[in-house]
């Protein structure tokens, strides 16, 4: 293609009609008039050739990316949507009967579910989207000037500052507004600042593996595979994998592994694999194989080995099920145990468990799972603080909340809610 010297958009006003002329988009009168003009205007004749070539070049430019087939996913989504409507209709009828019968039991139950101390949660069912938006506003307002989120009000970062920052970033992913964008951006820079030369995030202590996996997931989710800190964190995760396939505390022996740490490393590797790091497959398989070795005959996932349940089996069973379901490789007895756990976990007293249950239900995706997820989400939104200075936040009394406080509970609640709307820690697809 040649371009005449001193070319400007307005060298000939009729140039504006040339693309439409080439595409047969002019009226008959316009077309004739332009043909007459072309006989006398060398500028437009040259430009016409250029536009013709340009149109061909654009039409022939290759489109990258693998072929898509969304049929199964769309039909599954529509099925879930139908189930939800059915369940809602059923719930309305059931509610009517409850009112008609004047059940004293209901009143007693409501009394037993008094909101946590210092909060004004109403138990009211608000849309998940509204709850998430309000949670996002609360989180944005709680971000520290250096970009981190942290537990408590002290000036010095706590041991879990990186993990809390990463969880808050994930929770804000997809939240509305410029403020959320800015907060996420500042958080990404804060995380990059916390990376050690070895690639892990935050100090080297008992929180290192959690902090690093969460930071890698948050940075991959917000910045994609181009995030250099995420890739360096990933290398650290890979180098920390134990010969047995799982992961454990950085200062523990090479043989010591646990499912809680392993699950987060696996989620980080899966996220990276979805970003195009296909070289991680063998590591993921080894991690999953170790996880599977901790499942007992009843399908329950142990903490460091089969039938090892120092904190109960429910949370680790849900976490293990999430990893297995994301890979579509879930042993039947694990699935049965997980669904039992899910049915028993509809009161969100423990946000750690609640998150894994919600995410695994979504990954499962059947109508039964969708129904349970809907119930769980309604319970989560009902626990949100709706007025006062902490409006928009969540507070729970589980063992992680004592370390991460309201920031932790709020981020996990939002992730659990988003796990039901297709956001949150859902693996992103990259071409």
């Amino acid at each position: 293609m040649r371009i005449p010297e001193g070319m400007h958009a307005t060298d000939c006003p009729r140039e504006r009609d040339l693309p439409a002329f080439l595409q047969d988009e002019l009226t008959e009168a316009e077309r004739r008039s332009l043909e007459d003009h072309l006989r006398t205007c060398a500028w437009c004749r040259d430009a016409l050739d250029d536009y013709r070539q340009m149109i061909t070049a654009v039409r022939e430019a290759p489109v990258g990316g693998a072929p898509v087939d969304v049929r199964g996913a769309v039909l599954a989504r529509l099925e879930r949507s139908r189930t939800r409507r059915y369940r809602l209709a059923w719930a309305r009828r059931a509610a009517l009967w409850v009112v008609l019968l004047g059940s004293a039991l209901l009143a007693a139950r409501l009394l037993r579910q008094a909101p946590p101390r210092g909060s004004t949660a109403t138990g009211a069912r608000v849309p998940a989207r509204t709850a998430t938006r309000q949670g996002g506003q609360w989180l944005v307002a709680r971000q520290r000037p250096d970009g981190r989120w942290d537990a408590g009000d002290g000036d010095r970062p706590t041991r879990y500052a990186v993990g809390l920052t990463a969880l808050s970033m994930m929770a804000l992913d997809g939240a509305d507004g410029e403020e959320a964008d800015g907060a996420t951006r500042r958080a990404a820079v804060y995380l990059a600042d916390q990376q050690s030369p070895e690639g892990f995030f935050g100090p080297r202590d008992s929180a290192t593996m959690y902090n690093t996996a969460l930071a890698v997931v948050a940075l991959l989710q917000s910045g994609g595979a181009a995030s250099e800190p995420a890739l360096r964190g990933l290398e650290f995760i890979c180098s920390s994998q134990r010969p047995g396939g799982g992961w454990g505390y950085v200062r523990a022996s090479r043989e010591a592994m646990n499912t809680s740490i392993t699950v987060w490393q696996l989620l980080a590797l899966m996220q990276a694999e979805a970003c195009g790091r296909t070289d991680l497959r063998a590591r993921i398989e080894r991690g999953l194989a170790w996880l599977e070795s901790t499942i007992d005959d009843q399908g329950r996932v142990g903490y460091s080995a089969r039938a090892d349940f120092p904190y109960g089996y429910e949370t680790m069973t849900a976490a293990g099920a999430l990893c297995a379901l994301k890979q579509r490789k879930v042993p039947p007895h694990l699935l049965r145990a997980f669904l039992d756990v899910a049915e028993q976990s509809l009161e969100p007293d423990d946000m750690y468990r609640t998150y894994f249950v919600a995410a695994a239900l979504r990954a499962f995706g059947t109508s039964e799972a969708s129904g349970l997820l809907e119930e769980l989400r309604a319970q989560i939104t009902g626990r949100q603080v709706v007025s006062g200075p902490e409006a928009g936040s969540w507070e729970t009394a589980d063992r992680w909340s004592t370390a991460g406080g309201r920031v932790y509970a709020t981020a996990m609640a939002m992730l659990a809610l988003e796990a039901g709307t297709g956001r949150g820690l859902e693996v992103q697809r990259y071409n």
């Binding site: 293609m1 439409a20 039409r59 898509v68 989504r77 997809g174 994609g224 181009a226 071409n431």
Partner: protein, 176 residues
């Protein structure tokens, strides 16, 4: 004989859900290309899904007077607008971090990422111009159909098409 899009939409409106699978099979790849051309590489598949879910949800609003692709791309455009803010957040975060790292002298992106071709030039166009080019030149909609999808007068589509091609032409000449 294969049913036309219009016939399939009528079946879908009448409650025959199997028609949706045929429509998806027929249009999912062009839709994925549409979203990728607009810049949604990571989210193209999700956006295609979202478009078909909306197609099902709004199946009774379809009027046979309108060409099916006009209806489909109107839904796709709405899915794109809803997904755009999320995409922008991600891009801004990535950019902010990249700038921060460059200031500290971190590794520059590999040279293979820097491409100066039609595809790149297209992605650098103002979004309002890019969508006109994509719908018209790549998805094959006429100016009138583009104007229906975007809710703009045909004259505006024509002038945006010129502005887009003029800009592409200028950029590619600059690069050559």
């Amino acid at each position: 004989m294969d049913l036309s899009d219009l016939e399939l939409m009528q079946k879908l409106r009448d409650g025959d859900d199997t028609a949706l699978s045929v429509l998806m099979e027929r249009h999912q790849q062009p839709l994925a290309n549409f979203f990728r051309r607009l810049g949604a590489y990571r989210d193209a598949e999700d956006l295609v899904q979202e478009t078909f879910v909306r197609l099902y949800r709004y199946r009774r609003r379809y009027r046979p007077a309108a060409r099916f692709t006009t209806f489909l791309y109107t839904l796709a455009r709405h899915a794109w607008i809803d997904g755009l803010r999320r995409l922008r957040t991600r891009e801004r975060v990535a950019l902010g971090l990249k700038e921060q790292l460059e200031v500290r002298g971190a590794t520059a992106p590999p040279a293979s990422l820097v491409r100066l071709d039609v595809e790149e030039a297209l992605l650098e166009l103002d979004e309002r111009l890019r969508i006109v080019v994509v719908l018209n030149l790549l998805q094959g909609l006429t100016y009138k159909e583009v104007s229906d999808v975007l809710g703009l007068p045909v004259g505006t589509v024509k002038s945006r098409m010129f502005a887009a091609l003029h800009e592409l032409r200028r950029r590619l000449h600059e690069d050559s």
